[in-house]
């Protein structure tokens, strides 16, 4: 635990020493006593975490010290300890940025002790937040987006360009391709990394609530608005807002969003006060927005404003060997998280993984691998542990890109199996002649 530096500025040497010794009862406190304002100011390079300041000093008044310290260290908490009760002075000093104000009386020791503890806790929390932000930043480092394929390298190249300017980024990709991961990676690697990243899933918010969610509201703005609510845009001010599934936004809301983006300001519902915005906008969709514009479902003016730098995320089936790279990464990650011994993926299992279409993309691959790790009893994951459980059988069926003749054979075979090899029933269902099926069986094309 690092020490917590406290300056006590007190012209009564006895009283100052008493406060010093009292605060030193906590061994984490490193307390310095200064009898004049000048001594305090010349020692600020020691970087105190808190100052306890007597309001009346021989060389400076409390408010002039407060202003001088806050000029260089605006966030340094200064507690004014005054010899007399004066509400006007207290209010003035608190408005000027004093952390607290109290009178020297029988409670001084407890109040100073408590306020020091509170400031120390705040300091620790701030430090924890900084560490957590750094960890989040590392988590969304570009190197944590796995893959070596040309398709994903193109994505990296575009992401890199997105970092260099505050341009709106539109991320297009199928479900499970990692749109939010890319949005976070752009934010946490940009100059806005220490500011908020606010993600909003437009599709998940009912249309009648989205305006209040995005722009916030004042108390009494509508029935049920019992308190003020800060909207997502305001929460993201200074940072990045990620509007996921923007294609699902209603036309009415689109026009409101367009106005906010054009003006770079908004007002909460029920209030006319304009709030300036400085926001990086990232949007994503699985829809083709150009088609949505043609069909009248999306405003053309908003489309062009949102397009910015388009980043198209390739579906996993187009990323070749990335499937294996990702599968190995997910295997290691899952084993580590669950304290399991490290496992390898056998060649047969790799072949099976490569032969599938992944309609759910990376998200689906991750689920398949986690199940495979659980199902495999040895340190090697075999093909029997790889189970695909897709609801999108058509895309999976079409994945292998066969000839029409081969597809025909597969269809006939599928229905034969389904109908217990009953040729008559199968022919009737497929509306083809029985002889066609018999011929295919005779030529060993099916069966």
């Amino acid at each position: 635990m690092s020490s917590f530096k406290i300056f006590i500025v007190e012209d009564d040497r006895f009283y100052g020493e008493l406060l010093k010794r009292h605060l030193q009862l906590n061994p984490e406190n490193e307390v310095y006593l200064y009898l004049t304002g000048k001594d305090c100011l010349t020692n600020l390079h020691l970087k105190p975490d808190m100052i306890s300041l007597d309001y009346r000093l021989p060389d400076f008044s409390g408010d002039s010290i407060l202003k001088k310290v806050h000029f260089d260290y605006p966030d340094l908490p200064i507690v004014i300890v005054s010899g007399q009760e004066d509400v006007k002075t207290a209010v003035y000093l608190l408005k000027e940025g004093a952390y607290d104000y109290f009178v020297k009386d029988q409670d001084t020791q407890d109040r100073l002790w408590n306020v020091a503890n509170k400031i120390r806790e705040n300091k620790q929390l701030k430090r924890e937040i900084t560490v957590l932000k750094e960890e989040v930043g590392k988590k969304y480092n570009f190197t944590n987006i796995k893959g070596n394929s040309t398709a994903i390298k193109n994505v990296f190249s575009l992401m890199d360009r997105a970092l260099k300017a505050r341009i709106t980024v539109s991320i297009i990709g199928e479900t499970g391709t990692g749109k939010e991961l890319v949005a976070k990676a752009i934010h946490y690697n940009s100059t806005r990394a220490n500011q908020p990243f606010v993600a909003v899933n437009v599709a998940a918010i009912p249309s009648e609530l989205i305006e209040s969610e995005l722009f916030g509201y004042e108390k009494g703005a509508f029935t049920g608005a019992s308190t003020r609510k800060i909207g997502k845009f305001e929460q993201a001010n200074g940072g990045t807002i990620f509007l996921d599934e923007i294609g699902e936004m209603s036309l009415n809301m689109q026009s409101k969003l367009l106005r906010v983006l054009q003006e770079n300001e908004l007002s909460r519902l029920g209030d006319n006060t304009l709030i300036k915005l400085d926001i990086r906008l990232i949007v994503s969709t699985h829809k083709n927005l150009a088609d949505e514009v043609k069909n009248g479902n999306f405003r053309e003016d908003l489309y062009y404003r949102l397009l910015g730098l388009p980043i198209e995320l390739p579906p996993l089936r187009q990323r070749g060997n990335d499937i294996i790279v990702l599968a190995k990464y997910f295997t290691d990650e899952f084993c580590e998280a669950n304290n399991l011994p490290k496992k390898n993926i056998s060649l047969k299992a790799q072949e099976k993984l490569m032969s599938y279409g992944y309609p759910g993309n990376v998200r689906e691959l991750k689920a398949v691998i986690e199940l495979a790790v659980v199902l495999s009893d040895t340190t090697e994951i075999g093909p029997e542990s790889i189970n695909f459980n897709t609801t999108d059988s058509i895309s999976n069926f079409l994945f292998n890109e066969c000839t029409l003749e081969e597809y025909n054979k597969r269809i006939v075979n599928y229905f034969l199996e389904k109908n217990d090899n009953n040729v008559v029933v199968t022919a009737k269902k497929l509306n083809i002649g029985k002889s066609t099926i018999y011929r295919m069986l005779k030529n060993n094309e099916i069966g």
């Binding site: 012209d11 009564d12 040497r13 006895f14 009283y15 020493e17 008493l18 406060l19 010794r21 009292h22 009862l25 009346r56 021989p58 010899g83 007399q84 020297k104 009386d105 029988q106 001084t108 020791q109």
Partner: protein
């Protein structure tokens, strides 16, 4: 001092400040005995010169320290002294008050010094 007469001060608050550490209590009594007498000299000098603002400043400065020892009689005088030093009507009474404060405190300091000697 009559042994049955109550002491003009109380060490309870001081001890509380110092986590009831007797060694620190001894050290801080020593510091108090060292810092107050020069302040009393300054008070007298400034009162004699009619520097009432300075008298008020010194009174204000030492008030919290006197409060730590619960020096009730001295506290009563010093509060009046603080007010009178800023008040034109009562300034002629300041010297008398300083004298009263000096006598009260010198008496308390003497007993305190004896107690410190016993504690050490």
């Amino acid at each position: 001092m009559n042994t049955h007469e109550p002491k003009p001060y109380n060490l309870k608050k001081l001890s509380g400040f110092l986590g009831d550490d007797p060694q620190q209590v001894i050290e801080m009594i020593g510091l108090f005995l060292e810092t107050i007498p020069p302040e009393l000299v300054l008070l007298k000098e400034n009162a004699a010169r009619g520097c009432f603002d300075e008298v008020a400043t010194i009174a204000h400065r030492i008030k919290p320290s006197l409060d730590v020892f619960d020096l009730q009689q001295a506290m009563k005088v010093i509060r009046t002294l603080e007010l009178f030093s800023k008040d034109d009507v009562h300034q002629r009474e300041v010297s008398a008050l300083v004298e009263e404060l000096t006598i009260t405190l010198e008496f308390a300091l003497k007993i305190m010094a004896d107690e410190l000697h016993t504690m050490s």
